[in-house]
Symmetry: C2
Subunit: 382 residues, 2 copies
């Protein structure tokens, strides 16, 4: 936009790419924005321009011709690969995976009691097809062998703050090297080169795992005994008890968020929308997803604030696709319920809750899961 | 007991073994009993005599000398193994794993609205060390190769009803053959031969998976494209919406329970116990566990019905044991909180809720997870 284009060149954000004007902006620098929530349930694959954007730092400009991916911590020494190496030397894999920000639905938790963080609505979640090479294939080719001392795979982005500190995160080694983990070094999103905001030319896609570990503008991979030492791995993106405040919090006491819990939300009708009383039926739509490859198996919808429930119709990917193997359901389900309007209702209190394949459910209310960073906000949506 | 010993020999239960008189009996024939709940939190490893017992049929008498395990559905044809074959030809593995009945805490769900099933309290869960051979090792030795058409591993027990129908269940193939699945064909429990009630001479232990799939008195293993056709796999042990009743239930519409959701309960003070007002502190104890190898990372305890929370101290296995790798935390945590008595409280309303490593939490209340079979009863315990 104008304001951004005319910023002085000393502004590290001055070269950030343009964004779709319909995104709701939660922060301009770094850019954080989410689509109108109805768009989510209208498209099983979120159109790229509307996929939520969660940047921690300025978008780096990377020249694909000179780009190198460095890999360290291997028994035979470091490895350096060009983009062409990755594309030509390894089979191309495509995975449909939903990414969700740890702070999705933070605004609802913020209403219980103030939290620190971007005030996301219900749309810091989106679904895309990602293509690239399997991290497993690259690590095995680079000399990785099981039985070593490494326990984590660290990722460093090429995005930097003014002191030169890069974004970083890590995932457990087992997820990275498992044949069933489906962790990608992705160079395409929805069939095209990754856009600048989503990590061009290469990002990690860790299906089933919180957005924050899906490092964009990937510069370096390090196999290590330790988790990433980054702020975002060590002192952020962790869950705490509602009794923990900024005076008492001990970030070492909680595990870094990896797999996310079961989640769902209502995208239509929009909050506060007026439902025409002359209509005999109401149609409710939304999304549901769970972390760790757990498939959503049921969504219950209530029109009376949770007193009674009806089971929604679920929609996955293409009708003719086989269902994902157990533990590898990386993509969300869209859901829909058309039901008669309760006769004497002055106001509909619509509520949804999802169940995943481990029969985990969403908690009833936000206050008991409130935490100072406002992450993991997955109570029933109403 | 006397009544059982004097039963006529036409009673198929007449040869059932004796049981510890302290068990609370939910059904005599078949025998189903749970220990006093305080015993659970007094012992990290539940003493064998107090481990909950969940039988579906009479206990079969099996002669270990003539016992055979049959394996079918393999590319090179069926295999038959003696107990001695299993013990001598495969490495011995020991796994500490908590088993929980799908119906644990059903009695609380039953109070919301009547359900069908044994009226379990909070102690249809116990923890033991299991030793035996890895199912993976046995299948690989028997000729199993990946890439075939099998998707499930079916187990048949030697326990039979009057028509000759045996108990049966199945698990996904991936769990059975994974290096990280830790599925055992167990011949020992807590360092001794399996007792008759727990499956002598051989049972399956499927860590992280509902008790019902941990088939006892194992007679046959079948690799198949299909799940077990047993009543217990197809028309039982599934979760449904609170709106589903016996007139509308379609058992095909829900997945068979495998991994269980996060769970916790208070074992001390016992329900209705009087806490001495002259004491300045109260000590609360309990257990917490989650399915799928997800570790319990926090337990919150409230003394005021859920308004405010305190974090309990967790206890795992031996202090000097390394923590389990991610996704392989098969055993529970015991927890304890000592806190000042609230000054003006006439009655303490003690509540607990657990969080697992995927940050899944227990739901606040039972009514919204009520289901006609009373399974998966994991709301906050109070
Ligand atoms: Mo995030
Ligand atoms: Mo069970």
């Amino acid at each position: 936009d104008q304001k951004q284009q005319s910023a002085s060149s000393s502004d590290p954000y001055s070269t950030d790419p343009p964004r779709h004007p319909a995104l709701r902006v939660n922060s301009q620098k770094p850019f954080n924005g989410e689509p109108p929530s109805e768009i989510l349930s209208e498209n099983y694959i979120t159109p790229t321009a509307f996929f939520f954007k969660r940047n921690h730092l300025p978008v780096p400009k990377v020249d694909p011709a000179t780009y190198r991916l460095e890999i360290e911590g291997l028994p035979n020494g470091p490895v350096s690969l060009s983009l062409e190496d990755l594309k030509s030397r390894f089979p191309k894999h495509t995975v449909t995976a939903t990414l969700q920000c740890a702070g999705n639905r933070r605004s609802e938790m913020n209403k219980v009691k103030q939290v620190k963080g971007l005030n996301w609505g219900i749309a810091a979640i989106s679904n895309a097809t990602w293509s690239g090479v399997l991290l497993r294939d690259v690590l095995l080719d680079a000399g990785y062998k099981s039985g070593g001392t490494a326990k984590h795979v660290q990722f460093e982005g090429l995005d930097k703050d003014v002191t030169g500190t890069t974004y970083g995160a890590s995932i457990p080694l087992g997820k990275a090297v498992s044949e069933e983990g489906d962790v990608l070094l992705a160079y395409e999103m929805n069939g095209e080169d990754l856009p600048a905001d989503h990590g061009f030319p290469l990002r990690v896609v860790v299906p089933g795992t919180v957005g924050a570990r899906n490092v964009k503008w990937l510069g370096k991979i390090i196999l290590s005994e330790e988790e990433s030492s980054s702020h975002w791995q060590q002192n952020d993106y962790k869950g705490f008890s509602p009794s923990t405040d900024w005076d008492t919090v001990d970030f070492k006491s909680a595990p870094a968020i990896q797999e996310l819990p079961v989640q769902s939300a209502i995208t239509q009708p929009a909050e506060g929308a007026v439902v025409d009383r002359s209509m005999e039926e109401v149609t409710v739509k939304g999304y549901a997803w769970s972390g760790g490859g757990r498939e959503v198996v049921r969504v219950d919808v209530s029109l009376d604030g949770g007193r009674t429930w009806q089971v929604a119709k679920l929609r996955g990917g293409e009708e003719d696709e086989p269902p994902p193997p157990p533990g590898r359901a990386w993509a969300w389900k869209l859901w829909e319920l058309t039901a008669p309007l309760p006769e004497d209702a002055q106001e509909l209190e619509i509520v949804c809750k999802a169940v995943d394949s481990s029969y985990n459910v969403q908690p009833d209310s936000m206050a008991p899961i409130w935490n100072l960073r406002g992450v993991l906000s997955n109570a029933w949506h109403r």
